[in-house]
Subunit: 425 residues, 3 copies
C-alpha cells in the first residue's frame, strides 16, 4: 500500500493540543489506513477469558472488514484465527459466540481442529497438501484474563512490558474466575476515534452522566485550579495518597502508571477512590455483588482503571469488573462491546442483582453514544476546524490523539511492507 500524499500532508499538519482535522473522522480511505496500521499492527483488546471458558468455545470479533475467531483449544490454550476458510474463503463461524468440536466450514466441510490444523476434506486430489491450508493464525496476548490479539506478522514486543507491569494490578481480581452476566453490543454512529476521545475525558461527565457521578470524584479526571477549588482539591489529593497507601498495604498495587504515549503498546492505570460508600461504580456506590472477587476481603477498594491504546478501557472493583472494547465498523460507525463480570460462584438474586451491577454503565454508554454521534454530525461540516483540548481535563485525549498520529507516522516510515491495504478495496 501507499499512503497517499493527501494523507501524509494531513498527518504532518496535525496541530498538537487540538482535535484532528475532519478527514480523520470522515474519510473511508483513512479508516482503511486505521484498520491496516492501527488495528492491523497493534495489540487490540477483544475478549476476556470467561468469554470462552471451555474447550471449543469461541468468540467472533470483527476489526473493520477482518473477522477473527478466538477459540479455546483442547489443552485450554487460547488461540485465534482468521475466520476464513482456506478453500473458497467462506466465513467459518457465524455466531458472535459459540462452541464447536472442530471448526467445520459449512460450505464444503473442510474441517480444522482447534489449533487451526486442516484435518479433513474431500475431493482435493493426491497432490493436495493439507499442511499448506491450515487456518491463518493470529497472535494472542493474555494479561490476567484480558485477551488481546495482534494481526501483524511481528507484533510489537513491548506488550510484554505492559503484561509484566499490569499483572500484579489485575490478578487479585481473578478475572478468569469470573462469569459474564451481561454483554452489550452498541453500534455508535461515529468514527472510532471519537469513541476513544470521548472515553479519555470526564469534562463532559457533570452535564451528561448523572448515574456515573453517584460514585465518581469531581476532581478525579482533571480540573482547572482556582482559589475556589483549592481546598477541595487538596483534600482529594490527600485522600488519594492515604487510600493508595491503604490499598498497597493490602497487596493491591494502586499507583498510577501513565505510558499512553511514545510506544506501540501504550496504556495507563490507576486505582482511584470513589465517593460515598466508595465500593463500586453503582448507583449507591456500594458493592452490587456480595461475593467479592478472588481472595478480596474488603469492599471499599475504589476502582482500578486500565486504559489501553487504541481501543479499550476496564474498571476493576472489589465486586465486579466492566471491560470495554471499541472496534471500527466503517469510517462513521463503531462497535462497542461492554462486558460485566462477577465472581463465577455468585448467585443471581442471592449475591447480586443484574440490574444493579449493570445500570450505571448501561446508562453511561447510552449517553456517550449520543455524544459521539453528535460530534460526528458536527465535524462533517466544511466549517468545522480543529478545536483546543483543555490542558486540565483533556490531557488524556491529547495523549490518545498524539499516540494515534505517532503510530501513523511510524507506519509512513516503514511504509510499503507494513501496510498491506488491498488494491481496489
Amino acid at each position: 500500500m501507499n499512503i497517499s500524499s493527501d494523507i501524509r500532508n494531513l498527518i504532518s499538519q496535525r496541530r498538537k493540543g487540538y482535535t484532528l482535522p475532519a478527514p480523520f473522522y470522515l474519510s473511508p480511505e483513512i479508516l482503511e489506513l486505521d484498520i491496516a496500521t492501527i488495528f492491523g499492527s497493534h495489540w487490540i483488546f477483544v475478549a476476556v477469558e470467561p468469554d470462552i471458558p471451555e474447550p471449543g468455545d469461541y468468540v467472533r470479533v470483527e476489526l473493520g472488514h477482518n473477522s477473527v475467531i478466538i477459540v479455546r483449544d483442547d489443552d485450554m490454550n487460547v488461540k485465534a484465527f482468521h475466520n476464513v476458510c482456506r478453500h473458497r474463503g467462506s466465513a467459518l463461524c457465524d455466531e458472535q459466540k459459540g462452541s464447536v468440536g472442530n471448526i467445520v466450514c459449512p460450505y464444503h466441510q473442510w474441517t480444522y481442529d482447534l489449533t487451526g490444523k486442516l484435518i479433513y476434506n474431500e475431493h482435493m486430489g493426491e497432490d493436495f497438501d493439507k499442511n499448506d491450508h491450515n487456518l491463518k493464525p493470529v497472535h494472542v496476548g493474555n494479561i490476567a484474563g484480558l485477551i488481546f490479539i495482534c494481526l501483524a506478522d511481528e507484533p510489537p514486543a513491548d506488550f510484554e512490558d505492559m503484561k509484566r507491569a499490569m499483572e500484579p494490578y489485575i490478578t487479585p481480581h481473578r478475572l478468569a474466575d469470573c462469569k459474564i452476566i451481561l454483554q452489550e453490543n452498541i453500534v455508535e454512529n461515529g468514527n472510532w476515534k471519537l469513541t476513544m476521545e470521548n472515553n479519555r475525558e470526564c469534562y463532559h461527565c457533570v452535564a451528561n452522566h448523572p448515574e456515573l457521578l453517584n460514585s465518581m470524584y469531581e476532581f478525579g479526571f482533571g480540573y482547572q485550579p482556582s482559589p475556589e477549588n483549592a481546598d477541595k482539591v487538596q483534600e482529594f489529593r490527600d485522600l488519594i495518597v492515604a487510600e493508595t497507601e491503604r490499598w498497597e498495604s493490602c497487596g493491591l498495587p494502586s499507583e498510577e502508571i501513565d505510558l499512553l504515549d511514545s510506544r506501540a503498546t501504550a496504556y495507563r492505570t490507576q486505582r482511584l477512590p470513589l465517593i460515598r460508600a466508595g465500593e463500586s461504580q453503582t448507583m449507591d456506590s456500594k458493592v452490587a455483588s456480595q461475593k467479592l472477587l478472588g481472595d478480596l476481603t474488603q469492599r471499599n477498594l475504589g476502582g482500578l482503571s486500565f486504559w489501553t491504546q487504541p481501543n479499550s478501557w476496564h474498571h476493576f472493583m472489589s465486586d465486579h469488573i466492566v471491560t470495554f472494547s471499541a472496534l471500527p465498523i466503517d469510517a462513521t460507525h463503531t462497535a462497542l462491546r461492554t462486558t460485566w463480570l462477577v465472581h463465577k460462584d455468585a448467585v443471581e438474586g442471592v449475591d447480586y442483582d443484574i440490574k444493579k451491577v449493570t445500570e450505571v454503565w448501561r446508562a453511561t454508554n447510552k449517553q456517550d453514544s449520543n455524544l459521539v454521534e453528535r460530534t460526528q454530525r458536527g465535524v462533517k461540516s466544511d466549517h468545522y476546524e480543529p478545536g483546543p483540548y483543555s490542558p486540565y481535563t483533556e490531557e488524556l485525549v491529547e495523549k490518545f490523539t498524539n499516540w494515534y498520529i505517532q503510530r501513523l507516522e511510524a507506519a509512513m516510515e516503514s511504509s510499503a511492507s507494513v501496510i498491506p491495504i488491498k488494491a481496489c478495496r
Copy 2:
C-alpha cells in the same frame, strides 16, 4: 480544491438546450462540487421570518453535510451560524426548530449568546481567549421576510439588486405578519438538479397534477403555437395585460422580471391570473383563508410567483403563501421543505381550514417527487444521453441548467481559493 479534469471536460462539453450529462445527476464528486460552489457560494433560500418569531427561536438547515442554525437574537435581528461547537466540533442544535436562551453545547457546556459570542466555558486555562472561539457566522439576507443565507466569505453583491426589485412585489403580502400552519419535509430520491428542473416547467402538469390544474391556466407555462390554439392563446395574453393593469393599479407590482441567467443571484417573478374564481391555488381556486394577507382587500389577485436560482420557489396569493426550499442531501437525495402560511390572526376552523389551504401542493409535491425519482432511475443508465428541452415549455429549465453550468465555469476560473473542498472527503 481542484476541479478534476474529468469534471472540467464535462462542464465544457455541455450542449445548450439539452439535459445534463449523467454524471451531473449521479456523481458524488460533482455533488461535492455543487455543495462547495453552488450552495457554498450563492444566496440560498432557507426559511421565512415566521419560522423564528421570537428571540431565541432557531431553525436548523442542512446544506449537504453543512449544518447551519438561523436564530433570532434579543434585538430581533436574524443571525446565522455554523452548527458546530468551536471546542470539539459537536453539533449544537439537534431539533429542526427550537428555542433557546443561549446556545449551549451539550457536550462540555461551552455557551454562546444569540450573536454567536462565546460567553462561558470551564477548564480552558488562563491563556485561552474566548474571542477566538465565537461561532462562525453565516451571512443573512432578508427580502420582505424570506430569509436567505450565504456560506461564502464574500457573498455575491447582486443580492441587493434582487432585494430592491422584489420587495415591492412581496411586501404587500406581509410575510412577517403570517404564521406557519404546516411545514412538510420530503426526501426526494433524486439529485437536487432534477428537483429544480422539474420545478421549472409545467409541460408535465397536464398528465400529472390534476389538483394544481384546478387553478392554473393551460398556457401559463408555455406551449407550441399552432393554428388550433391561436385564439385561446390570444385570449390568455389579453387577460394577462388586463389583469396586470388591474393589479398594478391597486399598488401591486405584477410585471414579469426574468433574470434567471447571467448573474450570480438569479431569479424570476410574475403575477399570473388563475382560472375560475381566480383567487388562490386551491381545489376550487377560491381563497382558503377568509382573513386576507396584510392590507389586501381583494381576493382575486391570482398568484405572484418568485423563483430563485438555485433552490427556491414561492407563491403569494391574497389569502396564503407557499414557499419551497430544495437542498441536496447527497448525490441522489434532496430535501424539499414546503411551508404554508396564512395571516397570523386567522383562526383555524373559523377563517381557514388547514386541509383546504394545503391539499393542492401536498398532492403536487408527492407527484413531483415521483417524477424526480423516476428520472433519477432513468439517467443512471449507461445508455441515457442528454435529451432536448422543448423550446416552448422548457425554457426556464434551460435557464436553470445554463445558470448552473455558468456558475461552475465561474468557479473553475477563480478555482483554488473559492472552492475549498476538503481533502479526503
Copy 3:
C-alpha cells in the same frame, strides 16, 4: 474508459485453478467493469417467452444500473429497449412486468410504439425530428423460448452456434407452450460471481441441499476416484450410457456438450439421470405435473441442464422447467430470478400442485443464498487469499472463472471503444 493499471495487474496475476483475488468480489470499480464488459458485451439470459405471451406484454430487467424492457410487439416479435425516455431520461416502465398499448413516458407523454418508434409528443417545435428520438434498441436472441439480450452494438456472433446446437435439445420441451406458475426474485448478499461459482459445483450439495439430493445422483457433478467408490462410479457411468441411448432413441438429444471456455458465448448442456423414480427434480423424484410438456410421452427423462456464461442455468424435465437468471445489483448484491413453468394447459389442483413443483428449488435457492452470503463475508478479510478448486468437483467453477478472466483480457485488448464506463460514475 480506461481499465486501471491496478485492475490490469489483478487480471494478469490470476492463478489458474484458484478462486479470484478479493477485489474481484468486492470492488465497485471492478463491478463497473463487469457491467461494461461482461454484462454489456455478452449475451445475457433474462426471460422466457411465457413472460410476455401477448402483444404489449413487457418484462423489465436491471443489469446493474442499466434498465431494459423486453416487449412483445404487435407482430408477436420480441423486442428489447433501454428503459429510458429520449426526452429527459425518465424511466418508462416501473413494474417488473406489465402490459401496454404503446410505451408512454409518464413524465411528458412522449409516446413510443412497441417497435420503439417515437410516434407522438408535444411542444418540441417544427425542427424536431422524431426519428432521431426513437428508443434505443437492445439485441434480442431467442433459443426455443429462452430470451437473451446483448447491450453491445455488435453482439458476439457465436450466439448462432449455441442456438443451432441447443435448439434440438430444448425444443421438445416446448417452452413457448408453457405458463409461468411462480417467479421468485431473491437478492443475494454477494457478488454475482460468487452466485455463479456456487451454481457451478455440487461439492457443497451433500451438506447443504437435502431437498435437491432427493433426485440427484451423488456422482453427477464430480468426485475424487477411490477404490471405495469405483464400483458405484462404474455403475453410474453405465447408467448414463444406457439412459442417453434410450433418450436419444426417443428423439431427445442428451449427450454432453461442454463449450464453457474459450469463446464469447459459452455454455454447457447434458441430460442426466435422476435417482429413484428418475422423473423430476421433486421431493420424491416423480413428476409434479401430470400434463407432460410438448409431445413428450415418457416421464422418466431425467433432467436436461443448460448452463450459460455468465449468468444462467436451466433444468428441463418431462413435466416442468426451471430457469435461473443472475444479475448484478452492485458489487455485493445479486438479483436471482427463478421461474417455474408447466404446460400451459395444466390445471392447478388437477394436473399439478404448485408447492410440489417449486419446493425443491425454493429450498435450494435459500440455502445457496446463505452460502453466497457467507463467502462474501469471508473474502472481504484482508487475510483471505485465493484457495484451490477441487480438480474433481470444481472443474466447472474453474471454467467459469477462467472464462471471466479471458473476457476481461479480451476487453483489455480492445480497450477504449469497447468499455465505455462513464466518467465520474
